[in-house]
């Protein structure tokens, strides 16, 4: 069911033949993060290569956010290190904004914060994220799905080699989240940028990934979505009722029209 782009398949094959072609963007080596005596992450190691989609899943308190903070440099690790390819441009998509109702800001103005982007570049990024027509809207008027896409669009400015998404679909319903992940997949095809997602949104996230890392303070298991979903560690962590997670995702996609009315952001765009 999972269809990689032909471009990416060719890329993957090439990477197998010639391993150095797949550049390591981020190398995390025996990372340990602790706050005032509480260990959030212990001895975590993995790498992210250019062009791949990696999803990190884990229950609350499993250290997902700490991992992400370590990558962007917001926490200093106790041990180990995070080696980021020099000059790597990372686009960060936060979970949400502290957008007080008293804060007036248009989408266009938000896009230009901290980036010297032209109006055309902003417009293009918004198109890539699937929200073309909202430059002049106020951020506070956006729906959850639109806001998430604007955050994605902002991260896309400056053509990052890697996107970092923190629980990007929180607050979206399941079809909305599935829709969002479709957009991410499409982005990877178009731009070839690597994607690291953090999620506990198991039902929809996993099928879009090349690799899933299951986190619970340490790495429980990792591999392809199908392989991870089949491991006993995964089932123990997320309970037996997640058995049908991948199946549910497929089901949703085959019957998209049943769910359309729930989320206005879905209705205008066709899938597949």
């Amino acid at each position: 069911m999972k269809r990689l782009s032909s471009k990416h398949e060719a890329f993957a094959t090439l990477a197998q033949v010639w391993p150095s072609f797949a550049m390591k963007l981020i190398t995390i080596d025996s990372l340990t993060v602790a706050y005032v005596g509480v260990v959030a992450l212990k001895n975590v190691s993995f790498t992210i290569d250019s062009g791949e989609i990696v999803t990190i899943v884990g229950p609350n308190g499993s250290g997902k956010t700490s991992l992400l903070k370590a990558i962007i440099g917001a926490v200093v690790p106790q041990e180990g290190n995070v080696d980021v390819k020099s000059g790597l441009k990372i686009g960060y998509v936060p979970q949400r904004l502290n957008l007080d109702p008293t804060l007036p800001i248009s989408v266009g103005r938000f896009m230009k914060l901290s980036e010297n982007a032209t109006k055309r570049e902003c417009q293009r990024a918004l198109e890539q994220a699937g929200v073309a027509e909202i430059m002049t809207k106020q951020m506070s008027e956006l729906s959850g799905g639109q806001l998430q896409r604007v955050l994605l669009a902002k991260a896309l400015l400056g053509s990052p080699e890697m996107l970092l998404l923190d629980e990007a679909t929180q607050g979206l319903d399941q079809p909305g989240a599935a829709e969002f992940y479709k957009q991410i997949e499409k982005l990877r095809e178009e731009t070839g940028c690597a994607i690291l997602m953090i999620s506990h949104d198991l039902h929809v996230v996993m099928s879009a990934s090349d690799r899933v890392i299951c986190l619970n303070g340490h790495i429980c298991c990792s591999g392809t979505p199908q392989a991870v979903a089949a491991t006993p560690e995964y089932k123990e962590l997320f309970g037996a009722d997640t058995d049908g997670a991948l199946a549910l995702y497929r089901h949703n996609h085959d019957h998209k029209h049943d769910h359309n009315d729930k989320n206005p952001t879905n209705s205008t765009e066709a899938t597949h």
Binding site: L68, K69, I72, G73, A74, I90, Y92, P94, R96, L97, N98, L99, D100, T102, L103, P104, I105, S106, R109, L113, S114, Q138, L164, D166
Partner: protein, 265 residues
Amino acid sequence: MLDDFMVRAFLAGLGLALVSAPLGCFVVWRRMAYFGDATAHAAMLGVALSLAIETDVFFGALIFAIIMAWLTTQLSGRNYAMDTLLGVFSHSFLAVGLVIVSFISGVRIDLMAYLFGDILAVSKSDLGVIWVGTLVVLGLIIWRWTPLFLTTLNEELSYASGFNPKREQLFLTIALGITVAVSIKVVGVLLITAMLIIPAASARNIARDPEMMVLVAGVVSCISVILGLRSSYVFDTPPGPTIVCVALAIFIVLNLINTLRRLKL
């Protein structure tokens, strides 16, 4: 010109108006209203200690406002929530300050002047301090505008853009400390938060982007100061509270206009 107490009062008020507008917007956006209040109360201890050792109250107030702001940002989230800590520190600082003042014998101190401000008694040197403080805070905010704003929206986003939110928080804390210290003579400890929040909240009714909101808040503050001082002279009312009353009137009017405009749509 500066020999006229009314001219000095206007200049002091306008300095406060300019400094409180941008900072007030951040206070509103970051929901720090109570934080501003607490910092102001804590400054009273600084005022008392300055009087005790007979130095300028500005520096005492500044130091304690910053200590207070720093303490709460450092300690919050450990054992107590932020508002609990603020409540503990601000009111005990205020109480200790008032007790210390009662011990200072020989000097007759008009406490009301510090609680509600005494803008008509602003001296030339006060005016100098107020305007230097104003320019420092304005400079700080213009210089750090983007990182401060990004940090307000999302700390991780700020990190990922290459800024350090903790440092930006510190800048904001210092700016708040200076503003409180500068405002004490103008509107007093109890009404500082009003000057921070009311103009910013009024501006929200008109502004479509953040810079515009700061600008409108500045205009609202200046009008409040000018009209407030004028009315206090005409009606013989206390200047600080009168300025705040004018600001409140503007707030109500702008909200009414905004509501009417929405109803029409």
